[in-house]
């Protein structure tokens, strides 16, 4: 069974690339949105005060956990000033 792992024929590779190429118009918007969100979250993290974790930790989270990282940061990471007033 393990032998199959290295059993990639040229035909297979051809098939894979052609499928992926045909999907490109659908993959590109996904990548744009994903990186757009990441950059947006990074800008927000750089320009605002952050809560719970140090800034560098948030930046790592945003960069390495794609989509989830930026979203978690946007929901809970930004400091809300009046929350701790009383």
């Amino acid at each position: 069974m393990l032998k199959r792992v290295i059993n990639i024929t040229p035909i297979d590779i051809n098939f894979m690339t052609s499928t992926i190429l045909s999907m490109l118009p659908f993959i590109i918007p996904l990548l744009i949105i994903e990186y757009g969100l990441m950059i947006f979250a990074l800008v927000q993290a750089a320009r605002n005060e952050v809560a719970y974790l140090p800034k560098w930790a948030w930046i790592l989270i945003i960069v390495f956990f794609s989509i989830v990282g930026p979203i978690v940061f946007l929901i809970i990471g930004k400091k809300k000033e009046t929350e701790n007033n009383d």
């Binding site: 297979d12 659908f26 979203i71 946007l74 929350e83």
Partner: protein, 256 residues
């Protein structure tokens, strides 16, 4: 009416500036409707060389119908979780953070506040669901073949999802007025949404629970039929009941 207008605008400003629309977009549209079909298509290609040929046989005949049903079950979970956690503070935060002191002391009426919140997010959730379904159709139609999936079926399913999520939204709204911390409301709705699906196992009573709407949405070919009537009526009654209870609660609650 004045309070309604003021709060409706405020909810839009708030949803933009606190990224609620953005986060809902990812939970409602990006993940289930865009990334979902993509993964479904790529998975067999990636796994191809790690799996025995017999198992691969299972993946090869994905139809559009199957891809759409897979989207339905993904989106149910994603939408439920995102709605619960993004909107859990709908009323709880207003009360806990004393944001209502000024509006209430200037005579804002609780009916307007609650209705504005509910209607704004009901519209938001409905629109996001519609968009998610149509984008999913684009992807599914492009990547898969076969099956009887049509725009009509898709539209009917999306209407059932909309009604279901508007029902859960009203429950979330009420729980959010009940609990001091939004998190409690969020978790309760999440558990409620998943656990009510258990009733779909019991043929005699399943038609009387809102989760039947979700079950029927995946019943490609006969999404709309008369068996839905009790669940639809019950869902509308629940919406009215919980919005009404929220108004009552917001009238009585101490906001300072």
């Amino acid at each position: 009416m004045k309070s309604f207008k003021a709060y409706f605008k405020k909810e839009i400003t708030e949803a933009i500036r606190t990224y609620k629309y953005l986060v809902l977009f990812f939970g409602f549209i990006f993940w289930p409707a865009m990334l979902g079909p993509m993964m479904l298509k790529l998975l067999p290609l990636i796994l191809k060389n790690y799996m025995p040929a017999e198992t691969m046989q299972l993946f090869s005949d994905f139809t559009r119908d199957y891809a759409f049903q897979s989207f339905l079950s993904d989106s149910f979970q994603f939408m439920l979780a995102f709605m619960a956690f993004v909107l859990m503070g709908l009323l709880a935060n207003e009360v806990r953070l004393k944001r209502l002191v000024f509006p209430y002391s200037r005579g804002a009426d609780p009916e307007g506040v609650v209705l504005a919140k509910y209607i704004h997010y009901a519209i938001t959730v409905s629109l996001f669901i519609l968009i998610a379904f149509f984008i999913d159709y684009l992807y599914v139609d492009r990547f898969f073949t076969g099956g009887i999936l049509s725009l009509k079926i898709l539209f009917e399913s999306s209407l059932l999802y909309i009604l279901y999520f508007c029902t859960l939204l009203s429950i979330l709204l009420y729980l959010s007025s009940l609990f001091r911390r939004g998190l409690a409301a969020g978790f309760t709705v999440l558990i409620l949404g998943f656990s009510l699906s258990i009733f779909n196992q019991f043929d005699t009573i399943k038609a009387y629970f809102p989760n039947y709407l979700i079950l029927k949405a995946a019943d490609i070919g006969h999404v709309f039929d008369s068996s839905l009537i009790p669940a639809i009526i019950i869902s509308f009654c629940l919406i009215i009941l919980f919005v009404f209870l929220s108004v009552l609660r917001m009238k009585k609650i101490d906001v300072a």
